[in-house]
Amino acid sequence: MSAGIAAWGTYLPYWRLQRSAIAGVLGSGGGKGTRAVASHDEDTTTLGVEAGRRALAVGPGAGAVQDLILSTPDPAYLDKTSATTVHAALGLGRACGAYDFAGSSRSAVASLLQALAGAGGGAAGSGRTTMAVVSDLRTGLAGSPEERDSGDGAAAFVCAPEGAVAELVGRGAASDEFLDRWRVPGEADSHVWEERFGEELYVPLAREAFAAALKDAGLAEGDIDHAVVTGLHVRAVKAASSGLGVRAGVLAPDLTAAVGNLGAAHAAVGLCDVLERAEPGQVIAVLSLADGADAFVLRATEALAGAQLARAAAGVLSVAEQVAAGRDDLSYATFLTWRGQMRREPPRRPDPERPGAPTVHRSERWKYGFVASRCQVCGFRHMPPTRACLNCHAIDQMQPERLADVPGTVATFTIDHLAFSLSPPVVGVIVDFDGGGRYRCEMTDVRASEISIGDRVAMTFRRVWTAQGVHNYFWKARPAGGPGPDGRAGDAERGD
């Protein structure tokens, strides 16, 4: 039993943009392969929630988490903490801390190192189970390399004082102040300095950090079994990778051809991909280039094999499965619309009103946690939770039940061309949940022409819309079996 990473999860959104679609519209640019695209109802908070749900599906679980750190360069709010949204959606305990590491890409690696330090800190067994969620959503101006080469995604790790599948054996860092990639608060797109300048600076920083980590671990380059090297500066990453001195075949696939560079989340997603393939005893090195370099070395424990099997049994999708499952027929016009780069004529309907803060807080467990209620007298399940039972009329005899991970079946549906949406038409579905309960909600990650009565669906946490500066988060249905946690038979009775 040892401290370290005890569970992990990733989320790559369903949609992919073929890079050739960019050239098809703009006449130039584009390229080969695809990039992962967060849907119009996703942001870094919701991407993080979905990764977090997968990390909690197997392992210590939500009840064990004592601190939560959300790290993203693209936070949904400033001043207000976004980690509390993730905390509520994951159903973490009230006594669990929730903190943002927001702003720079480099904070993402810091959040994982902080979680590892928290879990392993102090005397044996005295650490805090800490969850690190890293998330990024990258846009770029139309036709830019940033738009073409980036991708959206998230990863989450639960680091615990015991039960580690991988323990930290060494780390190193190197810092320098220089201008490579930056954004003034309020700007949607990054500025990038002439790239040879950054390459010159990054390569030595990477070497220094990597060497320091190996020294800290008491290992040599040849001891490394898997190496993940990432950073938004593509040339620097390539140069640093080729000079690592590790054995052939040790460098992990960089995933960028299929999903793009996931920015702050890329190192974490790459590490998760390795954890899904690595064997007990193997040594994993992560090197991240962001305003300096960070390197850390992990050793897989005997518990890794069991965790891999448990995840497969629970139907938690791997990085490889998500890469394979993406849907690549998104049009470039839709992509631009989702990113706010193209303003489209809305339906002639009133804009939504921002939800009220007290109203939202009263329904926190329902809105964020998707917690329904079941009548203890007759067993009827109510969504949203109510005090009076529809079936037997008992009052205040309800038991709360979290249904976020319970799949359901489409009882009927409609396509609404009139309702407000950033991406009309709205697909409305009536979902009958396994184990009882019906709810009417919006369906996402689906084309209106492809839905049928009887389809299986799972729930996903989304940003429904933003009104008057308030993000309105809630759950939607999406086709089961695609990327996203759960929605498979093994989960049918969870939460009952």
Binding site: P347, R348, R349, P350, P352, E353, R354, P355, G356, T359, V360, R362, S363, W366, K367, H382, M383, P384, L390, A411, T412, F413, T414, I415, D416, H417, L418, A419, F420, V426, G428, I430, D432, G436, G437, R438, Y439, R440, C441, E442, I453, V464, N472, Y473, F474
Partner: protein, 399 residues
């Protein structure tokens, strides 16, 4: 349901109804004034002879002053009521009870809605500050769930059901085309209806009722006093109103092929009025055809057709103006238009004209006669599985 009703205790002695439509030159105050004055004139009285008022409006005014101010009423009781799309019927129901109780001798029920000032398509709701979890589906979307469910349950081909829906719109447009007060006074071909752009689900533009401005009013007194004001009053036979527990969206047992609220309120109303065979005993019905599948399902919920057969009867013309049981001979919500607070009273206005033989010859129904002197009005509020329902029955004969 334990309701004893007030059969034959009160009578309608005067009515008024404005033209419905996009009335850019009239505000809610003007519409209320027009409907109130017409109703008072038809009862041979002044609006100041009326003792108490019930004003129905969903979003065109709040509190009784919304009526007393434009009419300059001198310190009379005015109650504003709201019950979604059943608001007009609810104003009428409460006015009837006030008179039946003996509290007032003469009461007016008046409904108004000014919908066309918003600049939006369709209805805009009124709701308390929310938690943002409502899926925000539009009204056509909420009602569009009925069509595939009905088709699946009764084995009707989807294209055939679309034809049935179009046939309902076609019929109501035919009726509205003959009605100078209707919003849409134009016949529309089956092809135009069927090929119209979709709004929600299988519902096209012509499957939706007209968003409209308008007002309508009724004056009520006790039956014993009715002939002092009116030679041929309409007697109130039944008034039933129910609010459901909003079971549909949360009950897996609900299949979106019926409105339980309508079934319950219809049974109650028929009992109050002593009706056992509605299709044979009623001379006409004005029903809440907010969307074409609504009218289809209502034909079964109101007992005008056996379960699973209304679609055939629609195609056979049973509910046409010259059919076995004329339904919405004035054009209905579809063609007459649907200013929320006014619609329930507009339905009564058609009964007032048709049952008393005052409809123009070109659109007078031929079902009224000895043994068939009753008309039904039905108002629905909310959405399938989560609404309110009103069923009222009026007739020209006592007993």
């Amino acid at each position: 349901m334990a309701s004893s009703g007030i059969r034959d205790q009160v009578a309608i002695i005067g009515m008024g109804c404005t033209r419905f439509g996009e009335l850019w030159d009239k505000g809610a105050d003007d519409l209320l004034t027009d409907a109130a004055v017409e109703a008072a004139e038809s009862a041979g009285m002044s609006i100041h002879d009326i003792d108490a008022f019930w004003l129905g409006t969903m979003l065109s005014g709040v509190c009784g002053v919304s009526l007393s101010r434009p009419l300059k009423l001198d310190y009379k009781p005015v109650t504003r009521v709201e019950n979604y799309c059943a608001t007009g019927s609810e104003a009428f129901r409460n006015a009837c009870y006030a008179v039946a109780s003996g509290a007032y001798d003469i009461a007016m029920a008046i409904g108004v809605e000014k919908l066309k000032d918003t600049g939006y398509s369709g209805l805009t709701g009124i709701r308390a500050v929310g938690d943002g979890t409502d899926p925000g589906l539009s009204s056509p979307a909420a009602f569009s769930f009925l069509a595939p469910s009905y088709a699946n349950k009764y084995g009707v081909d989807r294209d055939q059901l679309k034809e049935v829906m179009s046939r309902i719109a076609f019929k109501n447009h035919q009726n509205g085309a003959r009605n100078p007060r209707a919003q849409f006074q134009k016949e529309v071909s089956m092809e135009t209806i069927t090929k119209a752009p979709l709004v929600a689900g299988d519902l096209g533009v012509f499957d939706c009722s007209g968003v409209s401005d308008g007002a309508a009013a009724a004056i009520i007194c006790r039956t014993g006093d009715a002939h002092r004001y009116c030679e041929n009053p309409l007697y109130v036979k039944a008034l039933s109103f129910v609010a459901g527990p909003a079971a549909g969206p949360i009950d897996p047992g609900y299949d979106y092929t019926t409105f339980e609220e309508v079934v319950r309120s219809a049974a109650d109303a028929y009992e109050q009025a002593g009706i056992t065979e509605p299709r044979a005993q009623l001379a006409m019905a004005e029903v809440h055809d907010c969307f074409t599948p609504t009218e289809l399902v209502l034909m079964e919920d109101l007992g005008f057709a056996e379960r699973g057969t209304a679609w055939k009867e629609v195609l056979e013309g049973t509910f046409d103006r010259d059919g076995d049981l004329p339904v919405n001979p004035d054009g209905g919500l579809k063609s007459f238009g649907h200013p929320i607070g006014a619609s329930g009273l507009r339905m009564l206005f058609e009964c007032w004209l048709q049952l008393r033989g005052e409809a123009p010859p070109e659109r007078q129904i031929n079902t009224v006669g000895p043994g068939r002197t009753l008309g039904l009005t039905h108002n629905l509020g909310g959405a399938p599985g989560e609404g309110v329902s009103f069923v009222g029955i009026v007739g020209t004969e006592l007993g």
